[in-house]
Symmetry: C2
Subunit: 213 residues, 2 copies
């Protein structure tokens, strides 16, 4: 098992880049085509592949179809991944209807909320009472959950999820949830991503105005 997060992220990127290359008619690729399409170095591509035991042919490169297939198996995309979502607010609702997931073999099978006004039993993705989550997760053997609740509730939801048997959480609440041996947590903080960007934009403009002195 490769336990380097960045490396898995790159694998996703390679997969996406490969799909684009395939659409352009590529039958095989070399590490430098792919690195170019994915925005990394060729040796990075080969090193990553080496870590996952993906091999190509010397002087022949990699066959696009086989490569996509191999990466998809590693990423668990050979079967549809069913996930749940808790918190049907703005962001949650948008994710429920986001088409990209289904295309990528990820299906949000149910959402949950504490607010009865949000319940929608018969929607494409039903929104159910939070109390039903634990049972649902157990019955349906769900292992991945998305948290899109306010920060004050996030920790509690994460604990309920963990207790129900969820093993991976994608957290959009602006609080850093910590993973355990049992549960992997991936935090996405939208404000923080923008802050990051703003810092570099400001730093850049300061550096440039300094140059002008």
């Amino acid at each position: 098992m490769v336990s380097n997060r960045k490396c898995i992220t790159r694998l996703s990127r390679y997969k996406n880049a490969l799909k684009r290359l395939k659409a352009l008619g590529f039958i095989k690729v070399f590490s430098d085509n792919l690195s170019d399409a994915a925005g990394v170095t060729p040796s990075q591509v080969r090193k990553d592949f080496s870590l996952f035991g993906i091999t190509g042919n010397k002087r022949g490169g990699y066959k696009v179809d086989e490569l996509i297939e191999q990466i998809q198996v590693i990423l668990g995309k050979n079967e549809i991944q069913r996930v749940i979502l808790v918190g049907a607010g703005r962001i949650g609702a948008a994710l429920l209807r986001y088409k990209g997931f289904e295309e990528g073999g990820i299906r949000i099978v149910s959402a949950f909320d504490i607010d009865p006004a949000k319940y929608l039993a018969n929607d494409a993705v039903p929104i159910r009472p939070l109390e039903e989550m634990t049972q649902f997760v157990r019955d349906e053997k769900i292992r991945v959950g998305i948290i899109t609740v306010p920060d004050s509730a996030a920790q509690r939801i994460a604990e309920i999820m963990a207790a129900a048997g969820i093993k991976g959480i994608l957290n959009f609440a602006p609080i850093q949830l910590r993973g355990t041996d049992e549960v992997v947590i991936n935090n996405i903080n939208l404000e923080s991503e923008l802050e990051n960007l703003i810092y570099f934009v400001n730093a850049h403009s300061k550096a440039n105005s300094a140059k002008c002195d």
Copy 2:
């Protein structure tokens, strides 16, 4: 200028953690309180602060208010940051109404789309024709933009943004956009984040079932 992305991200986290600690009544903190709240090591906190020239008092720690203030200045939060958004689809629309940004001093001042059906001139955040973007960015001196269009359009939008004078882009399209010397790009790929999680969940369950053999 600190050019380490991760380090800036941690700074955001420290800021958020500090606000929570402040709400709990903390007047001063030590590097270990803060590291605990932010989920890092104490030496990491001190090292980061040292990079940004943030100092505390030996044996006295850091004053919470001063620390929040100093971090906010570094992150450019002493003034409201105005950003635009292109692509008023599901995700775009959710971000337009996301309250967290305004609370954090980030304001989406206008959205743009190619689809006339989406235009909303008089909404809290107006949605305007894409053709008006360049002029708007120039007039309003906008420097940060969010891309929430389909992947096929993302590259083109990024180029228009860059030409208009945008210096930082937060990209949600599932294609890796590459930054330049002029423009910093931050890519968020939601599917990829879930794939990442799924990989670790699967790897973990395999490791556990292997243990049982």
